[in-house]
């Protein structure tokens, strides 16, 4: 037993900051992103075009908004699989309000409030009743979308006010869309929240050891509840953007998006078991997924093949560093 511990290689000093960044998950991911960008530029003559790249950002902006909140939730050891259904419910609520003559400010308010309420609903069952979040949110995944189906059936809401189109179809300046602005603001906000505040430290602590965190005076359940609220809120914002972009609401809106959001978070280096992960990682993962799907789309690769690539990318990026570590350890022995 003692032999094993003494045999372990203990460095006499920490790696320098530069080396650590170089060897980090984010660096690997960034290399992948840059490679994909370069390969895309060679593979298709249409890739390097400001307007085309601007269009491509729609492939990930809405998902990424939710992914940031989801990253915090997963770091804290929980998950929310109902996000896409929250979008459906929020969008349906906005559609109902629009039919009763609500203007753009009211629509936005309603979207945000429905998102928050759904988040609170999930949070209540997980933190107050102590139920596992994966079970609760699988339930609400059907529940929230089910309500949309009851209200809308085979029908759709359309005819949103033209000023409402600004969120999903508007441009701030030249090719920079309103959604990109939201994406950047939300990314910065979450990066600050997770990496620069006590709240962020508490999130990591909860994910690594909830009991330990509780005995350290962290209000575990309260923080988890806030994380569910935030995820709901982000789903509400995504619902506003998506509804505005589509200009209509159907109960099938955003179906299947929850798995893409979780994929983005995991690809971004967040440990699915909780305890570690960074916001910059998720940002790069968002770009990687957006660039891959758009690049493959330009080559008219069928969607089925595209999901195979996303799957391989996810498994590859997660497995390769692990395989290298194992190989390196074996070489040392």
């Amino acid at each position: 037993m003692t032999d094993a511990t003494t045999a372990r290689n203990i460095p006499d000093r920490m790696n320098s900051r530069a080396v650590r960044i170089f060897k980090s998950w984010e660096a690997l991911l960034l290399a992948v992103a840059i490679t994909i960008f370069v390969v895309n530029s060679f593979a298709s003559p249409y890739f390097l075009d400001a307007w085309n790249l601007s269009d491509a950002t729609f492939n990930f902006t809405e998902k990424a908004m939710i992914a940031f909140a989801m990253a915090l939730l997963i770091i804290a050891g929980e998950i929310d699989l109902s996000v896409a259904s929250i979008i459906a419910l929020a969008s349906t609520a906005m559609g109902l309000a629009m039919q009763h003559g609500a203007g753009t400010p009211e629509l936005v308010t309603i979207g945000l409030i429905v998102g928050l309420l759904c988040g609170a609903f999930n949070g209540f069952f997980v933190t107050v009743l102590g139920l596992p979040s994966i079970v609760v949110t699988i339930g609400t995944m059907s529940l929230f979308r089910g309500i949309s189906y009851i209200i809308l059936g085979d029908d759709s809401f359309r005819g949103y006010p033209s000023s409402f189109a600004w969120f999903g179809q508007g441009y701030i300046y030249w090719v920079f869309t309103v959604e990109m602005l939201f994406f950047v603001i939300i990314a910065v906000a979450y990066a600050v929240l997770l990496h620069k505040t006590n709240f962020g430290r508490a999130v990591y602590a909860i994910g690594n050891n909830p009991t330990g965190a509780m005995f350290s005076g962290i209000r575990v359940q309260r923080i988890k509840f806030i994380l569910f609220l935030l995820t709901g809120l982000m789903s509400g914002i995504a619902a506003i953007c998506l509804t505005s972009r589509l200009g209509s609401t159907r109960p099938s809106i955003a179906s299947g998006m929850e798995l893409e959001v979780v994929t983005m978070v995991v690809l971004g280096g967040v440990n699915i078991l909780g305890g570690s992960g960074t916001i910059p990682g998720v940002v790069i993962a968002a770009f990687v997924m957006g660039l891959v799907t758009f690049g493959l789309g330009l080559l008219n690769v069928p969607g089925l093949v595209m999901s195979i690539f996303i799957g391989l990318l996810l498994i590859g990026v997660i497995a390769l560093p692990r395989l290298w570590t194992m190989a390196a350890e074996r070489r040392k022995e």
Binding site: F22, K23, A27, L28, A31, V32, T35, I36, V39, N40, A43, S44, P45, Y46, F47, D49, W51, N52, D55, A56, F58, N59, S156, R158, A165, Q169, L242, R245, L246, G247, S248, R250, S252, I253, A254, S255, G256, M257, V292, T293, F294, G295, G297, L298, L299, N300, V301, P302, G303, L304, M306, S307, F309, L312, G316, L320, P321, W324, T325, A328
Partner: protein, 331 residues
């Protein structure tokens, strides 16, 4: 774990993704966008599109669509097609309204846009190609029965529900042309509510009430299968002919047993062919999509547009013992 190694592996990983060759640029590129890939009906439409492309010569078909039948997935596909500056997009849409902003942008950038099979709201496309029209369907369902009754006879209708809009319109259109089929008498109309068991009972009841019944017309894919089964079970194959609208995959058994001599539904191959021809006419030959316009579509004749820029391709396509084997695996 060197950085070089990381890079090399990433490059290998990424370049493996882009194995497909880039396409020739001089061809006219027409994108056939479907609801979702991997559906037999749309694969058959692609076959028709390829046929049209071969006939036209310089056309390349981009057959594409999302994995699931979602509007968001189709928008991603449309964005990629806009970026490639394809010449035309012919789409069977998952959502009448949600695709409008994306398709409008395509038209602004000079791309011809038309919808087929499942339409897009008028502001999001130049024209819509319907597989058939209500008058053509109304005429076809009675013609199918009359063709096998040269000396006239008694027929009954087995519809969906009393409030089914499509079926009611088709039966109304049928009544308008009854004068063209002398000797054919419609003795009853019953409703199976598009439920297999209720349709079966109603069909059985018809045969008991009208012992001289010659044909049952079911303009619904549920009713026609149930009626054919009822005829087989009643031992009336050869006496009562079941016809109407049905799917080849579900009706293959009824054709084989002889309970149904023929039935009709759209032909997806013709649909893909016509959509491609129309896209070519609009984008290359300067055809104008406007109310009243007549646009040629190769072997399928011409498409006449109504006030909504919609047109009907043709009569529903008739399936019988001669062609059922070819189509039963398609849809």
């Amino acid at each position: 774990m060197s950085v070089i190694k990381k890079l090399v592996t990433s490059v290998a990983l990424a370049s493996a993704m882009f194995a497909s060759p880039t396409m020739a640029q001089e061809d006219v590129r027409i994108a056939l966008v479907v609801k979702a890939l991997g559906i037999g009906f749309f694969e058959a439409a692609n076959e028709g599109a390829q046929e049209a492309a071969a006939e036209l010569g310089n056309v390349e078909i981009i057959y594409t669509g999302p994995t699931d039948t979602t509007a968001e997935g189709q928008i991603e596909v449309i964005n990629a097609l806009i970026a490639q500056q394809v010449d035309a997009i012919a789409i069977s849409s998952n959502d009448t309204d949600a695709l409008v902003p994306a398709l409008k942008r395509a038209m602004q950038r000079g791309i011809t846009v038309l919808s087929w099979d499942s339409g897009v709201a008028p502001e999001g496309r130049q024209l819509h190609l319907n597989p058939s029209s209500n008058p053509l369907i109304g005429n076809m369902i009675i013609k199918l029965a009359a063709d096998h009754l040269p000396d006239g006879g008694e027929v009954a209708l087995l519809s969906a529900t009393t409030t089914s809009t499509n079926q009611n319109i088709w039966m109304e259109e049928m009544n308008k042309v009854m004068g063209n089929y002398p000797g054919i008498e419609v003795v009853a109309t019953v409703y199976g509510d598009d439920l297999a068991d209720k349709s079966y009972r109603e069909a059985t009841g018809l045969m008991q009430t009208y012992p001289d019944l010659d044909a049952i017309i079911a303009p619904t894919s549920v009713g026609i299968v149930a009626a054919a089964q009822a005829v087989v079970d009643a031992g009336k194959v050869g006496q009562v002919n079941v016809t109407g609208l049905g799917l080849p995959s579900e009706m293959a058994g009824a054709i084989e047993s002889g309970a149904s001599k023929s039935f009709a539904i759209w032909n997806p191959i013709d649909l893909g062919y016509s959509a491609t021809m129309l896209a070519y006419e609009l984008s290359q030959n300067g055809a104008e999509a406007a109310p009243g316009a007549e646009i040629p579509m190769g072997r399928m004749g011409t498409l006449t547009l109504d006030e909504n820029n919609e047109g009907a391709m043709a009569d529903p396509f008739v399936y019988d013992a001669g062609n059922i084997d070819e189509f039963k695996s398609i849809f």
